[in-house]
């Protein structure tokens, strides 16, 4: 369970997060959407301590992110993250990308880590690409390796930061399919995305952010059929006009 308690953050004088409150329960899938610069990605970074914040606290499974005595490395092992630009390590094969953290952070035997990695690659449908380097893979394949890399640490929570927005249209589906499968296995997921079809299919809750605030939250159908705020209406009309 993730409890975001009154979190505020400033970059210098600019307020990026303004008193965010949110509770995400186990097995829930929460989609965060909103215009760029609304603080979505920053909020994700705060959840696993990649960014600090000045006010409030975030409690992940009972552990405070902001508490100085918290072992952030340990905490992060429990929170997988997938990035917009994949961020695979270009000097390592797909397999090495996946096994690095299990071997070095969890001290798992190399052979065991590789066996697990092959199983994960199978799950995301690219077992045959295990020995290729990121530069030799398509965008969709790279993002699926990145998902496998995050899953290799067996996290309880997965964060996705616009996982499909750097992909060519024909590759979006293969990544979304993996994410939908993951959601159906009961993974707790927080997904920043504009893929409203994904939201419709698996989201338990949709949060609409603007200007560092949560301006609207709803179960999926309610949000699409009847957005309460003008800002959300405007945003949705633009998303669907493009899509």
């Amino acid at each position: 369970m993730i409890e975001i308690q009154n979190v505020s953050k400033w970059f210098g004088k600019f307020m990026v997060l303004d008193s965010i409150n949110e509770v995400i329960h186990r097995n829930q899938v929460v989609v965060i959407c909103g215009p760029s610069g609304s603080g979505k990605s920053t909020l994700l970074k705060c959840i696993n301590g990649l960014e600090s914040f000045q006010e409030g606290d975030i409690i992940v499974d009972g552990v405070s992110v902001r508490d100085k005595s918290t072992d952030l490395n340990k905490l992060r092992q429990n929170i997988g993250k997938v990035f917009q630009k994949f961020e695979l390590y270009p000097h390592m094969s797909a397999l090495q990308n996946i096994t690095l953290a299990p071997i070095r952070a969890k001290k798992i035997r190399k052979s065991d880590a590789e066996q697990k990695a092959f199983a994960l690659l199978e799950r995301v449908g690219i077992r045959d690409q295990a020995h290729k380097y990121p530069g030799e893979l398509s965008g969709g394949q790279q993002q699926r390796v990145a998902i496998a890399r995050a899953l290799a640490m067996e996290p309880q929570i997965m964060l996705f930061d616009e996982p499909t927005s750097a992909l060519d249209p024909e590759m979006i589906k293969e990544v979304l399919d993996v994410m939908i499968d993951l959601a159906k296995t009961g993974m707790t997921m927080i997904v920043v995305t504009h893929e409203m079809n994904f939201a419709r299919e698996v989201a338990d809750e949709i949060i609409f952010m603007d200007g560092g605030r949560i301006v609207e939250r709803a179960t999926d159908s309610a949000f699409f059929e009847n957005p309460k705020t003008d800002r959300a209406k405007d945003f949705l009309s633009k998303i669907f006009a493009v899509g």
């Binding site: 990649l50 490395n73 992060r76 993250k81 961020e87 952070a105 964060l159």
Partner: protein, 239 residues
């Protein structure tokens, strides 16, 4: 003119006019073991300067990227100081300062080695820092997000990629170090140039000896810079 000046002191005093004689390369042949011994010393000094400089330079570079303000300020000051001084001054300084510090005279080779390592570390540190900063922040974030610690992320993710980008600059700097080792001459290290100088004092064959030294330096430095160039080309074609 040719025989005046500091470097040529040993052979020029009291000899009067330069006699123009034919080239006699035998002087090289006859003194080859001694000259090669000097060349070996040059290689040793260069290897120590490059190896030690890289190691210490990496530490300094990481310290310069530290978020702790005191470490950052202290290391930044040290690097700027060293990069502002001529190498020959640093060599002299260690040569005269170390005996005071440790209470006994220091062997000239050791003194030169320490001076070179510290001086080159400052230069390497800036190359390495730039290399580390050339790697996108997302790489560090991705690595941290999997639960690896900051030092682990540096070691396994950032530095290997940074090193690859840095290799041309590091090779270029290494060639410069190889040439600069001749400055150890001033505190009496019998490196390559000093060896030739000693032979010259005995045999008075400056032209042949210093030409030979020049050719050897040229061959090594030129081939190294060719290798560097090829590496850069290969890197560019890969991207």
């Amino acid at each position: 003119m040719l025989r005046s000046g500091f470097l040529f002191r040993g052979s020029s005093y009291g000899r009067g006019k330069i006699k123009v004689r034919g080239f006699d390369w035998k002087v090289i042949q006859n003194n080859l073991p001694f000259l090669l011994q000097g060349l070996l010393t040059t290689f040793q000094l260069a290897a120590i300067a490059i190896g030690g400089g890289l190691l210490l330079g990496t530490v300094l570079a990481v310290a310069r990227l530290s978020s702790r303000r005191f470490i950052y300020a202290a290391v930044t000051l040290l690097i700027h100081l060293l990069r502002s001084l001529p190498l020959i001054l640093v060599i002299f300084w260690f040569y005269f300062f170390m005996p005071i510090l440790i209470g006994r005279p220091l062997n000239d080779f050791l003194s030169a080695s320490i001076a070179f390592i510290i001086f080159e570390a400052a230069h390497f540190a800036e190359i390495i820092r730039a290399g580390i900063q050339s790697i996108s922040k997302g790489q560090m974030q991705a690595s941290l997000s999997t639960g690896l610690s900051y030092p682990q992320s540096m070691l396994y993710v950032v530095i290997p990629q940074a090193l690859r980008n840095m290799i041309p600059s590091l090779l270029t700097q290494s060639v410069v170090i190889f040439q600069d080792t001749s400055l150890a001459f001033v505190i009496g290290v019998k490196e390559f140039l000093r060896s030739a100088n000693i032979v010259d004092a005995r045999e008075v064959r400056s032209l042949e000896l210093y030409s030979f030294v020049g050719i050897v330096y040229f061959i090594f430095c030129f081939s190294m810079s060719r290798i560097t160039k090829r590496w850069e080309k290969k890197k560019r074609s890969k991207v």
